[in-house]
C-alpha cells in the first residue's frame, strides 16, 4: 500500500512510471491521485523561475502537473495529470522540468530567469530581433511545451456530425437533473462531461441526497438516464468550443484511458453538434489564495484535498492547515479529521466566522484562527510551516505578531469562480457579482442558459432546482414538453453559511514588491508584484496587462489565476473589478489534439483528388504528376534515366519538330445555352461573340469589374444559342459562380443557362507539324484541309469510331487539334491517337512542357503571369479588347481609370539573360540598377522562367514598370546568394513571332 493511500480504499493494482521511476496506483486513479498516493511532491518546475511545483488541483484547472505520456510516434504532450486516467503500463514524464542535459546552457538561463520581469517577452525577445530565434529555441525546449512527436501519428481519429434538441454540458448535479427533465419530454438529449464518471462534485461529496450517500444517488440517476432511448451520454467528452448558431464541438476521448496506440478504433472523436438548445452546467473552479510562496508543493485547493480524500482515498499529507475566506472550505477540515489525520488549524480571514460548518469544526476540537491570514508558506520542495498573522478587516494589512504553524499541507480557498468559459465563447460578457465574489455568465447571445455553479449558485439545493428548470425550459423551447418540472424536488441537507470575504491578495509584513513572490498564475510565474509593476509601467487595460505579464496564457488558460489577477489589477488601478472587467475566453476550453481536429482528413483523404479518364495510362507510362487545384496532371514523362530537364527538352522538341499529345481534359468547360447566350457572353468577355458563327471559336479574356484579368479561354459557338466556354483548370468553379452571379443578380431578364461539363469530356491535344497527319489516320469524316477547317474553327466528326468535337485551337503555336470525346471514351481515343502517331514518334508531354511551349510564344497563364492586378493592356493584349462593343462589358469602365492608364504600370515583357544558359528564378525581383543600396527600388518581377530547348537559350516572362517602352534595356535580378543576373528586355514572343506555324 502506498504511503498516502487510505486503508479504506482499495482496488486492482496498476503499474506505471513517472520520470522513469516505477510506482503503483489502483483502478480509478488519475495519474495525479496515484502520484499523490505515492508521496510524489515535485511534478514539474515553473516556466521562468524553475521553482519546484506540486499537484495543486484535481481537474482542468491544474496549472503545475503537466505531463507527457509515452514516447515515440504515439507520445502525447501537454496533458494534465489530474485528467489522465491511470492504465497499466502508463509512462509519464514532466514536461516543464528543465532538461537535465546541457547543464551549462540551462545554468545560464536559470540565472537569467531570476531577472525575468513582466514584459520579459517584449523587452527581451522583441529586441534585438536577431536574437529572437535563439531565445525561442531554448524557451520552447526548456519551458514546458513538451515534445512533439516527429513521426506520423499511429492513431486514428473520427469526426461525427450530430443534431440534438438539448445539449447538456456537464454532468454534475445541475447537469444530471437537467438531462433528466429534458429526456423525459422526448427531446433528443446529449449530456457530455469531461470526466470518466458522471456526477461532478457529488462523486467526492459526503452529503446525503434523497436520503442516500451522494455517489450512490448519482449512480441511480445515471442508471435512470441510461434507460431513455433518446439520450446520449458522453463521458470523457469535453465540450471545448461554442460557436455561431448553437454549433458546439466535443472532444470525445474514446480509448485514451486504455493506453497508448489503441487498436480498438478511433482514439478520439470530434463531435460537431448543432443543438437547438443548450444547458451549460459547467460548474465552478475554486479560487486559490495569493500569499507568499503559495506555490510550494503541499499547497493545494481545499476542494482538491477533499476530492483526493473522499473520491480517490488519498491523503496528500499529514498535518493540514486550512486557509479560507469562506465556510465551504471547513468541510475539508472535517474530511481530514474523519480519516484520522491531524488538522493543525483553520485560518479564516473573517473576524467572526460562525456558520454551521464552522460550528461543526469547532465542535471537533479543531482550532479556528479567525481574523488571520496565512501570509507565507515556508519549505523548499515541500511545505514545512505556515506563517499566520492577524490582519485588518479589509484584508489589506498585517496588524499583529506572526505565528508559525508546523504543517506539510495547506488547503486554501478564496471562494469559487463560475466556469463561464463556454458562455463567453458565444459573445456573452461575464458580469461581476460582488455577492458571489465572482463573474457570472453574461446575457445569453445564443440559445443557451447556465445552471448551478456555472451560474454562481453554489449550494446543492440551488444547483438541483436550477438544473431541473433549465432542462425543462430547454426542452420546451426546442419543442418538447410544457416547461413544467416532472420530477419532485430532491431532499438535501441544508445548512446555513455566512458570507465569504472578498480577498484576492493576502497581505504580508512586507510590501508586495518586497515580500516573497505571491503567485497568481503558477504556470507562467506571474506574481502579484509583477501585475503591480505592469500598472506602474503604465498598463491599464486588462487585455494589455494579460499580454504584458502573460497572465492566463498557460495551457490552463488562467482558470485559477485570472480572477485574482484582475482583482489585483483593479486594486492597483484604484478601480472596481466590474470596471476592470475580465479578459475574453475563447475556444478551446482545454487543449485539443490536432489529430481529433484533422480526423480522417489526412494523407490521401486530406483533399479530394481529381483524375482524368486517361489518368491510369499516364501512371502506366511513369508520368510525374503535378497538383493543379484538385487535379492530378502529368507534369512530365521521364524515360529511363532521364532528368526532368532532359525529359522536357525532349518533349518540347518533339512538339516543335513532329507531334506531341497533351491531356487537356482538366480545362474547365461550361455549356451555355439560351436565346440571350451570345449577348451574355459578350458582356462577360472583353471581345464580342455576337457574330460568332456555329463552327467558330474565339479566344477571350474575362475581367473583374475593376478591369483586372480574371480568367481566359476559348469560347466556341456550337449552334444557335449554344456555346461551349473553356476556362482555366483552376478557375472553372469561380467562373461558373461569376456567370451565375451576373445572370441571377444583375440581368435576370437575359435568358441564359449554364452547366459545368468539365468532367464529361476528355480533351486530347494533338499538336506539332505532323498533327494533321495523325488526325487524318483516325478521322475520315472531317475535311482537314486548311481551307475548310482552319485555325479557330471546330468540327463535329468521328474519331476512331467515337463522336467527337475537334477544335483547331493552339496553346503551343503549332498546328493543333483538340479532340474532345465523352469521357467514357477517353482512354480509347487517347490510345488510338498514340497508335496513329507512332510513325511520327508522337510524344506525350505534361504541364511543364506545356508551360515552356506557351512561354516561347508569350502566351500568358492567368494566375502565373497575372496576379489580379493586371489589365489586358499590361499584358500587351489590347487586341483582345473590343473597342466598339455596344454594351459596357464587365471591367471596361475600369480600363479608363486614372490608375489603369498610368504609363508606368508593370507590363509584360520577355527577358533574355545575357548569360543565355542561366535560368532566372521565378519570383525574382527586377531592378534597373544592380549597384544601388539595399533596399533597392524594385521595378517588377519574373513571372515565368524556363530553359527553351527549341530556342537553345533560357527565356523568361516578367512584368516590369513601363516595360513595353524598355525593349533592349538591360535589367538585373539580385538574388539572395548575392549574385545579380543581367537580362535584356525583349519581346514576350520568343518563337515564331509572326504566328505562321499554327496557320498551316
Amino acid at each position: 500500500m502506498s504511503q498516502n493511500r487510505l486503508e479504506s480504499h482499495s482496488g486492482v493494482a496498476i503499474d506505471f512510471t513517472f520520470n522513469g521511476k516505477a510506482y503503483q496506483g489502483i483502478a480509478g486513479d488519475t495519474l495525479a491521485s496515484a502520484l499523490l498516493a505515492n508521496g510524489v511532491n515535485v511534478v514539474g518546475r515553473s516556466f521562468k523561475y524553475a521553482r519546484p511545483r506540486g499537484i495543486f488541483g484535481h481537474g482542468a484547472e491544474e496549472p503545475n502537473a503537466i505531463v507527457q505520456l509515452g514516447s515515440g510516434a504515439g507520445t502525447i504532450p501537454n496533458l494534465k495529470a489530474t485528467q489522465v486516467e491511470l492504465y497499466q503500463g502508463l509512462q509519464a514524464s514532466s514536461v516543464n522540468g528543465w532538461p537535465s542535459v546541457n547543464f551549462d546552457v540551462m545554468g545560464l538561463i536559470g540565472a537569467f530567469g531570476r531577472l525575468m520581469p513582466p514584459g520579459f517577452y517584449y523587452k527581451t525577445f522583441m529586441y534585438p530581433k536577431k536574437l529572437w530565434m535563439t531565445y525561442e529555441h531554448f524557451i520552447r525546449k526548456a519551458a514546458g511545451l513538451g515534445a512533439t512527436p516527429v513521426e506520423a501519428d499511429p492513431d486514428c481519429y473520427d469526426k461525427l456530425n450530430q443534431h440534438c434538441d438539448v445539449l447538456v454540458v456537464g454532468a454534475g448535479p445541475a447537469g444530471l437533473v437537467a438531462a433528466r427533465e429534458a429526456a423525459r419530454t422526448g427531446a433528443r438529449v446529449i449530456i457530455a462531461d469531461e470526466q470518466s464518471q458522471f456526477g461532478g462534485t457529488l462523486l467526492a461529496s459526503k452529503q446525503q441526497v434523497d436520503g442516500i450517500a451522494a455517489p450512490l444517488w448519482v449512480a441511480s440517476l445515471v442508471a435512470e438516464l441510461m434507460a431513455y432511448s433518446n439520450i446520449q451520454m458522453l463521458p470523457r467528452s469535453t465540450v471545448f468550443g461554442y460557436y455561431d448558431h448553437n454549433f458546439l464541438t466535443i472532444l470525445e476521448r474514446r480509448t485514451d484511458h486504455l493506453g497508448l496506440i489503441s487498436t480498438r478504433g478511433a482514439r478520439q472523436r470530434l463531435q460537431r453538434v448543432r443543438a437547438a438548445q443548450v444547458v451549460l452546467a459547467t460548474g465552478a473552479f475554486e479560487r486559490p489564495l495569493v500569499f507568499a510562496h503559495n506555490d510550494i508543493p503541499g499547497v493545494m485547493l481545499a476542494s482538491s484535498v477533499s476530492t483526493y480524500v473522499n473520491r480517490y482515498g488519498v491523503a496528500p499529507g499529514n498535518k493540514l492547515v486550512v486557509f479560507t475566506t469562506n465556510d465551504n472550505a471547513y468541510q475539508t477540515a472535517l474530511d481530514w479529521q474523519r480519516i484520522g489525520r491531524e488538522v493543525v488549524a483553520v485560518v479564516d480571514t473573517r473576524s467572526n466566522p460562525c456558520g454551521d460548518t464552522v460550528a461543526a469544526v469547532k465542535a471537533m476540537g479543531i482550532e479556528v484562527i479567525a481574523g488571520h491570514g496565512l501570509i507565507e508558506a515556508q519549505g523548499s520542495k515541500r511545505v514545512k510551516r505556515a506563517l499566520v498573522a492577524p490582519i485588518n478587516e479589509a484584508g489589506t494589512q498585517v496588524t499583529g505578531a506572526v505565528r508559525r504553524l508546523a504543517c506539510d499541507l495547506i488547503a486554501c480557498s478564496g471562494g469559487w469562480s463560475p466556469a463561464v468559459h463556454l458562455s463567453s465563447h458565444t459573445g456573452a460578457k461575464p458580469e461581476w457579482d460582488a455577492s458571489i465574489v465572482g463573474f457570472r455568465p453574461g446575457d445569453s447571445k445564443q440559445q443557451e442558459r447556465s445552471a448551478g455553479a456555472s451560474r454562481g449558485t453554489f449550494d446543492l439545493m440551488g444547483c438541483l432546482s436550477e438544473g431541473a428548470s433549465a432542462g425543462a425550459q430547454a426542452a420546451m423551447l426546442s419543442g418538447y414538453g410544457d416547461g413544467n418540472l416532472q420530477f419532485p424536488a430532491i431532499a438535501v441537507d441544508e445548512y446555513s453559511e455566512q458570507p465569504q470575504q472578498a480577498l484576492f491578495l493576502v497581505p504580508h509584513t512586507k510590501t508586495t514588491s518586497r515580500a516573497p513572490s505571491q503567485f497568481v498564475d503558477f504556470q507562467l510565474d506571474v506574481s502579484a508584484s509583477g501585475i503591480e509593476l505592469a500598472v506602474r509601467e503604465g498598463f491599464e487595460s486588462v487585455e494589455h496587462v494579460k499580454r504584458y505579464t502573460a497572465l492566463g496564457f498557460g495551457t490552463d488558460q488562467g482558470k485559477l489565476g485570472n480572477i485574482n489577477g484582475m482583482a489585483i489589477l483593479a486594486n492597483a488601478l484604484d478601480q472596481s473589478i466590474a470596471e476592470t472587467g475580465t479578459t475574453i475566453f475563447r475556444p478551446s476550453y482545454t487543449p485539443t489534439t490536432f489529430g481529433a481536429i484533422a480526423g480522417r482528413d489526412v494523407n490521401n483523404l486530406f483533399d479530394p483528388e481529381r483524375y482524368t479518364a486517361v489518368h491510369r495510362w499516364h501512371v502506366e507510362q511513369g508520368a510525374q504528376f503535378e497538383d493543379v487545384g484538385q487535379w492530378k496532371r502529368p507534369w512530365y514523362f521521364p524515360k529511363q534515366g532521364e532528368t526532368m530537364q532532359q525529359a522536357v527538352d525532349r518533349e518540347g522538341l518533339a512538339v516543335r519538330n513532329s507531334v506531341g499529345i497533351l491531356d487537356a481534359s482538366t480545362l474547365g468547360k461550361i455549356d451555355i445555352q439560351g436565346p440571350d447566350a451570345a449577348e451574355f457572353i459578350t458582356r462577360m468577355y472583353t471581345n464580342s461573340y455576337l457574330k460568332l458563327a456555329p463552327g467558330k471559336c474565339r479566344y477571350g479574356v474575362m475581367l473583374k469589374e475593376d478591369g483586372m484579368i480574371f480568367d481566359d479561354g476559348v469560347c466556341a459557338c456550337l449552334g444557335d444559342n449554344h456555346y461551349l466556354m473553356f476556362t482555366t483548370t483552376g478557375g472553372a468553379a469561380g467562373v461558373l459562380a461569376w456567370l451565375e452571379l451576373w445572370q441571377q443578380t444583375e440581368w435576370p431578364e437575359l435568358q441564359v443557362y449554364f452547366t459545368s461539363v468539365t468532367d464529361h469530356w476528355t480533351t486530347a491535344t494533338v499538336t506539332g507539324p505532323n498533327a494533321r497527319k495523325v488526325i487524318a489516320k483516325v478521322c475520315s469524316d472531317i475535311d482537314l484541309s486548311s481551307d475548310t477547317f482552319s485555325f479557330m474553327d471546330w468540327r463535329d466528326g468521328t474519331v476512331s469510331g467515337v463522336k467527337a468535337r475537334v477544335f483547331r485551337i493552339s496553346f503551343t503555336g503549332e498546328l493543333s487539334y483538340e479532340v474532345n470525346v465523352p469521357a467514357h471514351y477517353g482512354r480509347h481515343i487517347w490510345e488510338a491517337l498514340i497508335a496513329a502517331g507512332e510513325e511520327f514518334n508522337i510524344t506525350p508531354y505534361g504541364t511543364e512542357t506545356m508551360h515552356i511551349l506557351r512561354a516561347e510564344k508569350g502566351f500568358i497563364i492567368v494566375g502565373q503571369d497575372t496576379d489580379g492586378s493586371m489589365t489586358p493592356a499590361d499584358m500587351n493584349m489590347d487586341w483582345v479588347v473590343g473597342k466598339n462593343k455596344a454594351f459596357s462589358f464587365i471591367g471596361r469602365r475600369s480600363l479608363q481609370r486614372s490608375d489603369t492608364v498610368r504609363s508606368n504600370r508593370k507590363q509584360l515583357v520577355g527577358l533574355k539573360p545575357l548569360n543565355d544558359k542561366e535560368v532566372l528564378p521565378e519570383g525574382a525581383q527586377v531592378v534597373f540598377d544592380a549597384k544601388q543600396k539595399i533596399p533597392m527600388a524594385m521595378q517588377g518581377h519574373v513571372t515565368s522562367s524556363y530553359y527553351s530547348a527549341s530556342l537553345g537559350h533560357s527565356i523568361a516572362l516578367a512584368v516590369v514598370k513601363g516595360g513595353h517602352k524598355r525593349l533592349g534595356q538591360v535589367v538585373y535580378c539580385p538574388l539572395a546568394d548575392g549574385r545579380s543576373i543581367a537580362s535584356e528586355i525583349v519581346s514576350s514572343v520568343f518563337y515564331d513571332p509572326k504566328g505562321e506555324r499554327h496557320h498551316v
Binding site: 454549433f247 459562380a737 451565375e740 452571379l741 443578380t745
Partner: protein, 96 residues
C-alpha cells in the same frame, strides 16, 4: 459555423455549402462610361461595412447554385432572414 436557410431549397443548410457573395442591393450603373472616376470608384470599392444589420448575398454553391440575400447581424452573426434576389428585406437597420 452558420446555419443558413436557402430560400430556394427551403431548408437550413450548413455554411460550408455556401459561399459569401458580398454586400447585396448594389446596382451596377446603367451607363458606366458616364460616371467619373470617383463615382465609378464608389461603385467598385466602397461598401457600407455595417455594424449590426447587413444585407448580403450568399451563393448556394454546392446546392441549388442560386444566389440569394440574407439579413445578418454582423455583431452577433445572427441571420434574421433570407430572401430571394430581386426582393426586398423586411428587416432593415439604421444604415439601410
Amino acid at each position: 459555423m452558420l446555419l443558413i436557410y436557402c430560400p430556394h431549397c427551403q431548408e437550413n443548410r450548413e455554411e460550408e455549402e455556401f459561399s459569401y457573395g458580398g454586400e447585396a442591393h448594389i446596382v451596377r450603373p446603367l451607363a458606366p462610361e458616364a460616371l467619373n472616376d470617383k463615382d465609378w470608384g464608389d461603385y467598385l470599392f466602397f461598401r457600407t461595412n455595417s455594424r449590426g444589420i447587413h444585407h448580403e448575398m450568399w451563393y448556394h454553391a454546392v446546392g441549388c447554385r442560386r444566389y440569394f440575400n440574407a439579413t445578418r447581424n454582423t455583431v452577433t452573426y445572427e441571420i434574421l432572414e433570407t430572401y430571394k434576389t430581386g426582393t426586398q428585406p423586411t428587416i432593415t437597420g439604421a444604415n439601410s
